[in-house]
Symmetry: C2
Subunit: 113 residues, 2 copies
Amino acid sequence: MQVAPPDFDRMFGALADATRRDIVRRAIDAEEGVAELAGYYSMSFAAVQKHIAVLERAGLVTKERVGRRKVVCTNLEGLRIARRLLDQYEELWRGRVVRMSALISDETKEPPR
Amino acid sequence: MQVAPPDFDRMFGALADATRRDIVRRAIDAEEGVAELAGYYSMSFAAVQKHIAVLERAGLVTKERVGRRKVVCTNLEGLRIARRLLDQYEELWRGRVVRMSALISDETKEPPR
DNA sequence: CATCGATACAACTATATAGTTGTATCGATG
DNA sequence: CATCGATACAACTATATAGTTGTATCGATG
């Protein structure tokens, strides 16, 4: 089975909504079904269900059947994939600083005359 | 001067586009102006300029005037704000695991009869 | 197996977003 | 100060997204 490459558009897009971020947070405890989560928000059940579907497509939550409910579980690995990209940018930043210092020390060693 | 609270909708929304993520990556070196960055993409100059404006509103890049150009600089602090939120979710996850283990060991200590 | 609670999805509306072209502003320079 | 390179922005189009209501499916249970 082929693991899909991370779809950062979907991931960050899914995180770009306060309701969905709240669902991610609540679903960390992996205790509540779709209807229970929907109860927290002032929108319709269907709207919340759609938000959960967006999170699921983004790989940020999974659903686990428990009786007639489907319990929503935050997917830690999904969160980590997103976080790693941001870490990479910070890593590049650190590399830049190193390159800049190297350049400066080169100039110190061999000053243009 | 009042520091604006982080607008995660804008931040993650800005990151939810491959072109904008690429601009963030390139702008880490803080060497290129809007037109230079625009050269990398097959869309119009105006479109790239809009992407940069979106990143700027999200606090992920800043622009620095250099002569008649404006050099685009990735804002490390902005990236960190986004990353910290993801870290918080992982922290909550860790807390959950701890709570679950505590519950299990409680059950071991005081078995229901 | 009829019923009901829980979830899924279709169809629709309103708004946001990504792209376009054209015009305006702004700063360096002959 | 006219010019030109670089940036900003207005106005528009096409498409994606967030919400709605209504209907269908699916699983546990009397």
